[in-house]
């Protein structure tokens, strides 16, 4: 199928393009990007007033399959991704069974092959059953297709074990994704530890529990020489520590999630479980620090940490509710609304954070609009405002922290592998 996108503002930081172009797609690939192309196509998309960017690469996603298909499946989660402009996903290994062995990887690959709507990449667990006790067979997992390792949801408490894993990952040249949390410090907490948690009578999760673990993981990485990627950075100290590490030329990258640069702990005030996640929403100055970290390039990636949970698991007392929120369908709009609109970063930086940088970290050939590359493209209306409500979600779960919020920017078309896989009326 030949697709011609006309008169669209194309933003591709990998090729330092930002201007009105036409894009011609044929046989799944980008064939030409230039001004005023006049080529015959099966489908012409008028792109005036719209923006075309590489398909989003979300490197922190929980799709729950296998194990909790009631929350989300590869099929439903990847369909939701396309709606949000996400064409490539890295799934986290905390499924049931956990992705910690060649067998479970093959099982997952099979599901992906049969049901996935977007590209899905796999991360493997660092320790067996993510229990933090014994290492998985990382080289074999890599041979099966794993492109990163992480025990996401938990940190590997044992530094000796973690160092070993890092060394293996370094040899295999894959990144180690660190969920930085000292559970001895955060245990039992349900929101940020602060005056607000005192006021609400909820047990707090201290910022120390995050940043002391960021510090430790950086030290371990420095010795082992592997690449580490700090997941879901939520507090100002972590940003500072990562900034210093980057100055020391440690091979470190960092990621944050949309809710950490848009919402603060005050949003917990009415005990809405859709504001409960781990790490928790922090204080106003943290939100500012995360924004600054993004602006300064300390934070490299925006990833959703899409964590679907059923209504039953969220419509309960705050203490009893599951941690996590969905994000695939809102991350682009939240980033436009809270980062681009107020002028904190420009479009090119946004595109890097959402596409190019995570591709580089994961070593996948995504996140750019080069001629000859597989055509993963998002066409979006940067000014369209919409209100988040449960009915708009394709995801099986509706636990969004942004329900009821008005956001700016909406996806018109998602093209994956040269095919229009999502189109929104307009």
């Amino acid at each position: 199928m030949k697709i011609l996108i006309k008169n669209c503002r194309v933003i591709d930081p990998a090729h330092t393009i930002d201007g009105i172009r036409d894009i011609f797609i044929d046989k799944k690939k980008i064939v030409r990007i230039a001004e005023h192309l006049s080529l015959s196509a099966d489908r012409v998309i008028e792109g005036a007033g719209k923006i075309a960017i590489p398909g989003l690469v979300d490197m922190h996603v929980h799709l729950r399959e296998p194990g909790r298909e009631d929350k989300e499946t590869i099929a439903s989660g990847t369909a939701a991704a396309l709606k949000g402009g996400v064409t490539s996903i890295l799934v986290m290994p905390n499924t049931n069974p956990a992705i910690d062995s060649p067998q479970s990887i093959r099982l997952l690959k099979n599901i992906i092959k049969n049901t996935a709507c977007s590209h899905v990449y796999i991360s493997g667990a660092i320790t067996k059953m993510r229990a933090g006790e014994s290492l998985t067979d990382i080289p074999r997992m890599v041979r099966e297709g794993v492109i990163a390792i992480t025990d996401d949801g938990a940190s590997v408490d044992n530094p000796v074990l973690f160092s070993k894993a890092m060394k293996v990952a370094g040899r295999m040249n894959i990144p180690v994704i660190c969920h930085c949390e000292d559970k001895k410090m955060s245990g039992g907490g349900v929101m940020n530890l602060s005056f607000t948690s005192t006021r609400l009578g909820l047990r707090g999760i201290s910022r120390e529990s995050e940043y002391t673990r960021v510090e430790r993981d950086i030290k371990l990485a420095e010795k082992s020489g592997c690449r580490i990627h700090i997941a879901h950075v939520s507090c100002s100290e972590s940003v500072d520590i990562i900034a210093q590490a980057k100055k020391r030329k440690i091979r470190i990258t960092a990621e944050t999630a949309p809710h950490y640069f848009s919402l603060d702990e005050e949003f917990v005030s009415e005990y809405d479980a859709n504001k409960k996640m781990n790490p928790p929403l922090r204080e106003k100055h943290d939100v500012r620090a995360i924004r600054q970290g993004i602006k300064d390039g300390i934070i490299d990636v925006i990833a959703s940490d899409h964590a679907p949970h059923t209504e039953n698991e969220k419509s309960v007392e705050f203490d009893r509710a599951e941690f996590g929120v969905i994000g695939l369908e809102t991350e682009l709009s939240v980033a436009i609304t809270y980062l681009v609109s107020p002028g904190i970063i420009g479009w090119a930086e946004l595109v890097s954070l959402l596409t190019y940088n995570p591709s580089k970290i994961l070593g996948i050939d995504k996140g750019s609009l080069g001629v000859g590359k597989e055509a993963d493209i998002v066409i979006l209306d940067p000014d369209k405002e919409w209100t988040v409500n449960k009915e708009t979600f394709i995801s099986k779960s509706k636990n969004s922290a942004f329900l009821g919020q008005k956001l700016k920017g909406s996806v018109n078309y998602t093209i994956r592998g040269g095919e229009i896989v999502y189109a929104n009326g307009t």
Partner: protein, 310 residues
Amino acid sequence: MKWTRKDLLGLEYLSKEELEFILATADSFKEVSTREIKKVPALRGKTVVNLFYEPSTRTRVSFEVAAKRLSADVINIAAETSSVKKGETLIDTGKNIQALKADIIVLRNSFSGSPFLLSRHVDISVINAGDGWHEHPTQALLDIFTLKEKFGRIEGLNVSIVGDIAHSRVARSNIWGLTKLGAKVTVCAPPMLIPYAIEEMGVRITHDIDEALYEADAVNVLRMQFERDQQNAFPEHIDYFRQYGITRERLDKAKNKNLIVMHPGPINRGIELASEVADCPQSVILEQVTNGIAVRMAVLFLVSQSENSQ
């Protein structure tokens, strides 16, 4: 003023005027309990459901007596809950109670914020009778009512709250109510029982009981519940009494010789309070219980009237 709230979730959310209005209304209701026939027909035909997820005799009975003196029908539900036992959800229980055409749910629950959850899902009134560590508004209202009765004012009073502030909903509600009404509040406990950044609620912190008592007009002694929080270290009972127990000698060192002693009950004699203090003339513990009826009558009456004004 006009009462517009369908629910009473906490004192944090009330204005000074609303607090004063409840206290004034409670003052009018106090007389009812002194009559030969202690009953008025104000809530005749209304149904009040006491939905209690925690064992509590005192608060439940107080609400029951209050509702009955207003001629309401009272249903008591002692619900079982634990994180292990997965019974009916709070929302489902609430909706069922609403389907029974009850008018008011009085909720006691060990999870902070549970009245918010319930209130979001039912249209009938919700009164918070204690949620986790968050708030216990009617207890604080009866404490404040008792103080006002004793001193004729709240403005300018020095009130010390002693005990496990960290895990106390009574402390939080008292702090909100008292500070809004102009009292000066001091909290006193060992450091481990003082919650993070509590001073931002407008209170003074001390770890010295004698200092807490010295300037105080009243001391509100919290019940020590050593079993409540397994995660934090707690002092030994005897150590606690030695350091923080309210004794005759300690009271005698205070500047105000008429300093009054309050306690939300039930008392642990010899742990937070010496027996002789509990029974001394400065103790208003039983008056608190009596005032609790008037305060709860006022709250039940006001929330039941609010619907009509909407």
